[in-house]
């Protein structure tokens, strides 16, 4: 990988009691890339996201975003820097409608203050119109327009996954972290979603780090993949290299996904 590095993890370790959930991880992600992060259950993939978004602070190591350190920052401050995420175990604002879910994430770009909001100043009205318009666009792109006024809790499962993505985009990130966005979807839905993700990446000039449990899904759209196993990065490379890597095959042994390896996704 050459050129402009957007996110750099430098020997990052996090320890929970006796367990090193992520051990000495070094990973670079270039601007505009779509990188896959895969690994068996409990490999530490979600923990990497929790580190990058500030939910946990690394025990050891440095994390740089656009060349500036982000370790030790609070999650909302990291989001403001330009990193947003989706959650593996969907965490929508259940009682709010889809539109509000998206608007909430546009929050950090609001220019109107509290007094503007309470006194309904011109600045507030303009701001609000912008936020609503942008939310409408994002819902449209994710195919959620028909559900705009539906509380998130009442959405069908597949749409909830999409709303997670719409919401993360509303924060206008430069780096988008997607944690198993296709989990629970059938193969057609999941292929469709992957195409949508590639679309979004180009349209918004995004860099994406994509966690996926099922290798087949990422092989199609990621040009570079990193593999975690027991918190350790055991391989990194093109889908072709990953597919034939003996350590990767071994890590996935005993998993159903194993069958997909030979089939080549």
């Amino acid at each position: 990988m050459t050129g402009d590095v957007l996110l750099e993890l430098d020997h990052v370790t996090i320890q929970f009691g006796g367990l090193k959930a992520v051990a000495d991880l070094t990973l670079q992600i270039g601007r505009g890339e779509l990188v896959g992060l895969i690994g068996p259950n409990g490999a530490g993939k979600t923990t990497v996201f929790n580190l990058v978004t500030g939910v946990y602070a690394p025990t050891v190591g440095r994390m740089l975003f656009e060349g500036r350190p982000i370790q030790g920052m609070k999650p909302h401050a990291i989001a403001a820097r330009g990193i947003t995420r989706t959650f593996q175990n969907i965490r929508l604002f259940a009682s709010r409608c889809c539109r509000d879910n998206v608007c909430i994430a546009a929050h950090q770009h609001a220019r109107a203050g509290l007094a503007d909001a309470i006194l309904r100043t011109r600045r507030f009205e303009d701001d609000e119109r912008d936020i609503q318009r942008r939310a409408g666009e994002l819902l449209e792109i994710l195919g959620l327009s028909a559900w705009a006024d539906t509380p998130a809790a009442e959405l069908p499962y597949g749409q909830q996954r999409r709303l997670e993505i719409a919401r993360a985009l509303a924060g206008r990130p430069r780096l988008l972290l997607l944690d198993e966005p296709a989990a629970g979807l059938n193969p057609q839905e999941s292929d469709q979603l992957m195409r949508l993700i590639e679309d979004i990446r180009q349209r918004f000039h995004l860099t994406i780090l994509l966690i996926e449990h099922d290798m087949r899904v990422v092989m199609g759209i990621c040009r570079r993949i990193a593999v975690l196993d027991y918190g350790v990065k055991i391989a990194e490379g093109t889908p072709g290299q990953i597919r034939t890597d003996p350590r990767v095959i071994e890590a996935y042994l005993g998993e159903e996904v194993h069958a997909d390896l030979g089939a080549g996704g």
Binding site: V55, H76, T84, R91, S95, R96, H107, L119
Partner: protein
């Protein structure tokens, strides 16, 4: 322009009611109306914390007490003198008293807000339950201090507070807290509060500074509890620490829960219902509180989401509901 008209309309209505109500109602009924207003302010302000933001504060009576005693002390030692001086300078009595009352309410509100900030900042950084414990302790500490400090009358109570509050001022307080709540709810800041209630982790990950917003809601809630306390003090002209026990906090929580956590109109409605209920039940004497509790239980069993659930009472709500019935479902 439209906003100016609204404001003028509200003021005219309040002045008219201020003239009409004392003539239409006997003093007993009038007092109930005023207490309804004060309880509405308490419920709507606690709704900012427990309803909008999903935190659990159980010390609202403490903030009310601070506002009540703070504003009363200000009026007794400062305000009254100013009113006398202004009247000597031929300023009309209503104006002088209104000015002094406004200042006293501001003093009471700000004192409560400051206390809310000091109590809220450390406990709101932590997860949910800490706030409940800390506010519980805070409410009791305030009451115990008041009961023991002679300067504020200790357990004998504080008499002689100027009775400057009439219907106009209570109505203005009610209008202010409702106006603030509704506009806050329909703004990016209100959405941030609701997001915290629904999922704090997700809110934080999407750029909401959850600690600051929790503190903000808490401080605003404390401010209006203080204002309610100030109105209470300057209406009754007498304060007693027993008005601010833990039971008062519970009563306000009951209003917020009964109204539907997060619903401003629900809090208003429930505050009125729960103020009237004990009065309506007066004829049954000894069984009054039994019946009161029983009716609360029945209400909560039949409508666990509260009277209005999450919603606001409005025409758009009805139309939106109809529209939603036609939305796609899967």
């Amino acid at each position: 322009m439209r906003r100016a008209l609204w404001l003028a309309g509200v003021l005219v209505a309040l002045v008219a009611l201020n003239v009409a109500l004392p003539r239409l109602l006997n003093p007993y009924l009038f007092q109930i109306v005023v207490l309804c207003g004060i309880n509405v302010i308490l419920a709507v302000s606690l709704n900012l914390v427990n309803g909008f933001t999903g935190q659990f504060s159980i010390g609202h009576a403490g903030f009310m007490a601070l506002g009540a005693y703070g504003s009363a002390m200000f009026s007794l030692h400062v305000g009254q003198g100013w009113v006398a001086a202004l009247e000597a300078g031929h300023v009309p009595g209503v104006v002088a008293e209104g000015f002094a009352l406004l200042l006293a309410l501001l003093v009471g509100g700000l004192l409560s807000a400051l206390a809310g900030y000091l109590v809220g900042l450390p406990s709101l950084r932590l997860r949910g339950d800490y706030l409940a414990i800390v506010t519980l302790g805070f409410g009791e500490i305030i009451r115990v201090i008041i009961t023991n400090v002679d300067a504020v009358g200790a357990s004998r109570g504080l008499p002689g507070i100027p009775g400057w509050v009439n219907f106009f001022w209570v109505g203005l307080g009610v209008a202010a807290v409702i106006f603030l709540s509704l506009n806050l709810a329909r703004s990016t800041h209100g959405r941030a509060l609701f997001a915290i209630r629904d999922d704090e982790v997700a809110a934080e990950a999407l750029g909401v500074d959850t600690t600051s917003y929790k503190v903000l809601a808490f401080v605003l809630g404390a401010f209006f509890a203080g204002v309610a306390g100030g109105l209470f003090a300057h209406y009754l002209s007498y304060l007693n620490p027993n008005s601010f026990t833990f039971l008062k906090s519970i009563e306000v929580i009951a209003m917020v829960v009964l109204g539907g956590l997060g619903s401003v109109s629900g809090a208003v409605l429930a505050a009125i219902v729960l103020t009237l209920l004990p009065e309506v039940l007066r004829p049954v004497k000894d069984y009054r509180m039994v019946l009161y509790s029983f009716m609360l239980i029945v209400l909560m069993i039949t409508r666990p989401q509260g009277l209005l659930g999450n919603r606001e009472l409005s025409l758009t709500w009805l139309t939106r509901r109809r529209r939603r019935a036609g939305a796609p479902s899967a």
